[in-house]
Symmetry: C2
Subunit: 199 residues, 2 copies
């Protein structure tokens, strides 16, 4: 086991907190996207020099992996809480869509979903990392639907996925919470109707 050791390590002590660096980088990446934020801007924001950056995070994509890890546990949509098995499915999915609308504009200028926007960036490694989180989230949604309506799980998951991707894009286009929420509710009613029609 890792000894939760209070004794300091051997060499020269760090002058910055990598965890805080991940948080700062999260805001930068979320506000402007992976490609648009350079290492120079990050090191400047953290008050460190490039060697400290690479010693701590390995690479820009390595930092991005830690940023997404943090994002998944702090700002991403809490699917486990919203998709309870005892809850009516239509209600759960509507809650997911509304929560997306809220979170995508909750912390301006960090609009949209960090994962969904990361999928489309121009760096291959960053795309792979983001795509893994995307796949996991869709699997989670599809699993919840399939438990009740296995035959329409794929179709409804695709619709929810498209809606969330669209909400993220529109949030980044500056659309406000009220209009995003209206759209999420239209989509939520659509899900309910499809579920009812599927019997």
């Amino acid at each position: 086991m890792n000894d939760t050791n209070n004794s300091r390590p051997r060499g020269r002590p760090r002058r910055f907190d990598p965890g805080q660096g991940v948080a700062t980088a999260q805001h930068l990446f979320h506000a402007r996207g992976y490609d648009a934020v350079g290492v120079a801007e990050i090191t400047s924001a953290l008050g460190i020099n490039p060697p400290s950056f690479y010693a701590a995070f390995g690479s820009k994509a390595g930092l991005y992996a830690r940023v997404l890890e943090r994002y998944a546990t702090t700002d991403a949509i809490p699917l486990e809480d919203l998709l309870r098995p005892d809850r009516p499915l239509a209600e759960s999915l509507a809650a997911v869509l509304e929560e997306a609308a809220r979170r995508y504009v909750a912390r301006p200028p960090a609009a949209g979903c960090l994962v969904l926007e990361g999928i489309g960036c121009d760096d291959e490694e960053a795309r792979r990392i983001a795509a893994a989180y995307h796949r996991a989230a869709l699997d989670r949604i599809r699993h919840s639907i399939a438990a009740v309506h296995p035959d329409t799980a794929q179709r409804l998951t695709d619709f929810v996925s498209v809606t969330m991707a669209g909400l993220s894009a529109e949030a980044r286009n500056g659309i406000g919470l009220d209009r995003l929420l209206e759209t999420a509710r239209v989509a939520g009613r659509a899900v309910a109707r499809e579920l009812a029609a599927a019997g």
Copy 2:
């Protein structure tokens, strides 16, 4: 008036067709995005050197403007044809969404909507150009809805806009025509139901 003159201009003749260059650049931009395609790659694809490129198009963004102009008349969704005033609105909007699904995967690897993807790129000038086409398209859709249901025009336009943005993103994620079409139809039914509910 411009004389449609057959006589050649004064200086050294061009060795390439700018119109063909716009077409080639359209495929490159559509397949990989504005940011990911460099001027060097374009000039290489056209078999020309940078000075010829800049003499013909002014700048990378200038070429992009001509690309979008071409795209709007050749590959974009023909809103004027689909949103006929004599057609039932629900049918028109469903047709727009289905047509989006089809076109967004019609010419791989040029997936998604060139305009919608351009809006999110990292170049300010290119974003502005793409956003103008986006605004025009949404105005056109909103106008058609408002003619019949002025009070729900904004809400439905937002829903259609989110759906199209999501379809474009998912098309770029590799989702195939069948699943995009299913999603488009779910969204189309949602539009019909909202229109019916609005009386």
